[in-house]
Amino acid sequence: MNDDHIVSSFDEDMTRLETMFLEMGEIVTEQLKSATRALRKEDRVLAKQVVKGDKQLNKMEAELNDLAIKILALRQPFAGDLRKVVTTLKSAGHLERIGDLTRNMAQRTNTITKASADTGPIETLIRMSDIVQDMIITIMRAYKNRDTDLAMKVRARDESVDTSHNALFREMLTYMMEDLRNISGCMHVMFMAKNIERMGDNVADIAKEIIYMNTGDWPEDKRIKSDKTSRMIMDPDAL
């Protein structure tokens, strides 16, 4: 495909859209990284920064929406251009959602740190966050380079987030059963884990959008979902 449109301002709009989306990806990654560090270091100042930082993401998403709508209305794109505008618009929504989930994670960090609540082991949660951060970085690279294979790999990788979530769910149930005083902190950790699990789903959805953007076809295979927490029950007598 020729890279340049006959109308060069069309190219400028498309480049701007791509740049805004990539910037959103960088900020989301930084936010999640900071939220995770705040949890690990029990750093309330950093957690509050993350909460505040989400506003910037919301603003960027609103601007990206405006630009995408402007392109649709004024440029009336077709084919690959149309797919790029629509999938970028949708994917920016997924990034914004990841931002919201990250903010919620930071709010919970602030709450449990302030109360010095015992949360039990959080290594699994940290591992989940590390995987998702890497997934976001990789999916943004797949978008930038129009790399369908890489997007497929990221989409498949969400399974490992689900698996970690299952393990953490079990760990937390056990920890709460051991001592009722752990429940408050553990509940927050479980919600944080659920947040990260949802972030993984959002990244997998972006991967799906990129596959469509590049090929014009939606992936036919169903993504493997391994989140089994909705079916999990713990028998106190088994402890």
């Binding site: 495909m1 340049d4 449109h5 077709f78 084919a79 149309l82 797919r83 014009g216």
Partner: protein
């Protein structure tokens, strides 16, 4: 096969087929080995940059190219199972089965009524004065014009607005009861409202007629047609259902044209 699927496949059968069509203006080849099916009761849009041959190809369908002396058409075009370039074909009768609407509305310097009545008269389609009136009114209704002109049928066709004149030409084409209507840029001289009225009309007309439209407006092709064929440098680059052509074309040249990368 159930009745439903039989009916469906019948509806999708092409009413017209072109196979290996070449068109020459003198020594210059304008159309190169084009093969295309025109599905019945659908709107087929022919798109492509200026000079790509789309209008030339459209004019093959009712032998309008015969009127150009230097023009030579080879290949096979079948309409309802008959080779339309067969020497035995009555071209005037053919053009009553396959009507045409042009870029610029061209009403005859006659009344609105006589413009529409012209075809039925020369083809002796009416049995009586009342029957002729019936044909004229039905045609004007089908062209979505009757309500606007019912009280002034004796006024000249040229007194109408551009959009109305174009619908008068559509009524004129309909009056001889064609099966196919060819439209060569029918809206390019019209404002957006008149264009929308014609597009809405085309959509309702496809229940009774098969329409082939040449348009420079890709948005129009996307809005009105079910099938789109992209021409470039006299070749048919790609044809397929309109949604696929405009969201995920198979050919790079189509992608480049519809997304404004080549003219």
């Amino acid at each position: 096969m159930t009745n439903d699927t039989a009916a469906q496949s019948e509806a999708l059968a092409p009413i017209m087929t072109a196979r290996g069509v070449d068109v020459f203006y003198g020594k210059k080849q304008a159309i190169k080995k084009v093969s295309l099916d025109i599905p019945e009761n659908q709107i087929t849009a022919l798109i492509g940059p200026s000079g790509c041959g789309k209008s030339t190809f459209l004019r093959c369908f009712n032998r309008m190219n015969d009127t150009i002396e230097s023009c030579r058409v080879t290949g096979d075009i079948q309409f309802a199972g008959q080779d339309i370039y067969d020497q035995k074909v009555d071209v005037v009768a053919l053009r009553s089965r396959i009507g045409m609407v042009f870029q610029k509305a061209n009403p005859f310097p006659k009344s609105i009524f006589d413009n529409v009545a012209y075809g039925p008269r020369i083809h002796s389609l009416s049995e009586s004065k009342e029957h002729l009136e019936d044909i004229v009114i039905t045609s004007l209704r089908r062209a979505g014009l009757y309500d606007e002109v019912s009280d002034r049928l004796n006024e000249p066709g040229t007194s109408l607005s551009g959009g109305q004149q174009q619908r008068l030409c559509i009524a004129r084409a309909i009056a001889v009861d064609p099966q196919i209507i060819l439209m060569d840029e029918p809206c390019s001289a019209l404002d957006p409202i008149a264009t929308a009225i014609i597009e809405n009309l085309m959509d309702s007309m496809k229940e009774k007629y098969t329409i082939v439209i040449v348009t420079h407006s890709m948005q129009q092709a996307a809005r009105v047609s079910q099938q789109t064929a992209f021409f470039h440098l006299g070749e048919l680059v790609e044809s397929g259902d309109t949604e696929t052509i405009f969201t995920n074309p198979a050919q790079e040249r189509t992608q480049n044209y519809i997304s404004g990368r080549i003219g």
